[in-house]
């Protein structure tokens, strides 16, 4: 009986998507990232998955929240945001809301502030529980490093090591080849005893699905994920083979094309065009 019950309530797969850097724009690589987020959310939530942004690391900027809604607002999903700095104006049941999501996306900004504010609002424990219950955790930049034991943040101006939540073992450095001074600080830190980990260029990502090693993804040619480890005082950096994420056709452009073709057809019929 116990075995059957155990089988019936299988442990949910714990998934985290860490992204080196991206925006919510209509550029192909950004659309590819959004498509991946939608797919991961959909694998758990079905046709209209719930996707929530935590813009904490930015200080809950309107800019970050608006760009998130512009990317997901007209897609098949239920987007929402939890702005911890604005709970006064928009009270919500924080824990229930977060635990009911299919994917929680954490935006970039200050990693130090992100963790400090989460700690103050007791959000860290909710996210850890959500992860164990199968909610996909995702994010870019500070929102990617926060899941690891440590990262390299510019929260205080220059790149420095900072502790993360530690849901994932090891460390992460984002914007890897995009910000050489951050990469240099990371290599030094790993040489000085920071746990080994990964470097992620902008538009490269790592996806953990359950136990074991992550799979590397890239939404832009040339953007790579690296394994960075220290052996006998030497820091080794090796690129990981990555799957390419193709960009879907932009919805807005498809409509434009359709409209253009309609007009062209009408004109042809009316004899306006040769």
């Amino acid at each position: 009986m116990a075995v059957e019950r155990g089988a019936a309530t299988a442990t949910p797969v714990r998934r985290i998507l860490a992204l080196g850097g991206h925006e919510f724009s209509s550029r192909p690589a950004d659309r590819a990232v959004c498509e991946l987020l939608l797919r991961l959310a959909g694998e758990r939530g079905g046709e209209r998955p719930r996707i929530c942004i935590l813009p904490t690391a930015s200080g809950d900027t309107t800019e970050q929240i608006a760009s998130f809604y512009s990317a997901f607002g007209e897609r098949p999903c239920e987007p929402s945001d939890v702005s911890l700095f604005r709970l006064g104006r928009r009270p919500m049941a924080l824990r229930d809301h977060l635990l009911s999501q299919d994917l929680i996306y954490v935006g970039g900004g200050s990693m130090v502030n992100l963790l400090a504010v989460w700690e103050a609002h007791d959000v860290a424990s909710i996210l850890s529980l959500a992860w164990r219950q199968g909610v996909v955790l995702a994010g870019q930049s500070a929102g990617a490093m926060c899941w690891f034991e440590a990262g390299i943040t510019k929260s205080s101006g220059k790149p420095l090591a900072a502790a993360g939540l530690g849901l994932l073992h090891g460390s992460l450095c984002v914007h890897y080849n995009n910000e050489p001074e951050r990469r240099a600080a990371y290599l030094d830190a790993v040489g000085d005893g920071m746990p080994s980990g990964y470097g992620l260029d902008d538009y490269a990502g790592l996806l953990w699905e359950g136990e074991g090693t992550p799979s590397a993804l890239t939404a832009r040619r040339g953007a790579r994920a690296y394994r960075v480890s220290s052996r006998a005082g030497e820091v080794a950096e090796s690129p990981l083979p990555a799957r390419f994420l193709p960009a879907p056709a932009p919805a807005a452009l498809r409509e434009d094309i359709a409209e253009f073709r309609r007009i062209k057809t009408m004109r042809k019929r009316a004899g306006w065009l040769g």
């Binding site: 200080g59 009270p91 963790l115 101006g157």
Partner: protein, 255 residues
């Protein structure tokens, strides 16, 4: 060695954040610095360093009457790199409103909590409204999110504090309950009223609105004693001399 005058002005609400066109409280704190062109640093941390709030600060504290700066802890790559040196060189540090829980979390992460104590002890005037008032006290009644909550502040002032203490806000009831449950005694202020402390003593209550008041609250056994404090309206030049504190007692029975 003479100790610098430690001053904190805790607004129940008001100043440029809430009283557009009424500069009385902001003028008051500028006046306390004694400087001709005071150096004023705005800390908008409780708002998440919201851009629109920073812009409003610079409009209210324009460069012709002070030297305004701000520190954005979400954008440390901009602004002063040495936070301690910058804050200790100010005449006035002005803390904006928002989430006091987030404020204290971010301050601790950047070591601002201990720098502010140092600034206070060296004579920099500290002020703020709402979250920027609650933060200075040992304990605070935060009504920012849902039910009013009891939380710890920086503890520069060994009292409790409640802001936006308007009738019917629900904060009064919560504050009384917390006091009966053992919260240390303290002060409440309505919107437009500001508690001016010299050292750890309340020096006076000033207001930007004629009716705004401050209150002293203490638990006495299972009762809470609430005293309304004589308040100086800053807008009236012919105001009568201040009554000694506390005055105008109105003892409220326990709720």
């Amino acid at each position: 060695m003479e100790m610098a005058a430690r001053q904190i002005v805790a607004f129940g609400g008001g100043g440029f954040s809430m009283e557009s066109g009424n500069p009385l409280l902001d003028d008051y704190v500028l006046g306390l610095t004694g400087a001709e062109r005071p150096r004023v640093c705005f800390l908008p941390s409780a708002s998440g360093d919201a851009d629109h709030y920073i812009v409003r600060f610079y409009r209210a504290f324009s460069a012709h009457r002070c030297e305004p700066t701000h520190i954005s802890l979400f954008r440390r790559e901009q602004g002063p790199s040495d936070l301690r040196r910058h804050l200790l060189s100010q005449d006035l540090i002005y803390v904006g409103g928002g989430s006091v829980v987030s404020l204290l979390g971010v301050w601790r992460a950047h070591g601002i909590d201990s720098i502010l104590r140092e600034a206070w002890e060296s004579g920099v005037v500290l002020c703020g409204l709402s979250a920027g008032s609650l933060c200075w006290f040992a304990e605070a009644v935060s009504g920012f999110h849902g039910e009013p909550k009891r939380l710890r502040g920086l503890g520069l002032l060994p009292f409790s504090n409640c802001v936006h203490y308007e009738r019917g806000s629900g904060r009064g009831e919560a504050y009384h309950r917390f006091l009966r449950e053992g919260m240390c005694g303290g002060y409440a202020a309505e919107d437009g009223a500001a508690l001016h402390f010299r050292g750890e003593e309340l020096s006076r209550v000033v207001a930007s609105r004629p009716q705004a008041r401050g209150y002293r609250l203490d638990a006495a056994g299972s009762q809470v004693v609430e005293m309304r404090i004589a308040t100086t309206y800053l807008g009236d030049r012919d105001a009568p001399p201040q009554a000694p504190l506390p005055e105008a007692l109105s003892t409220a029975p326990a709720a």
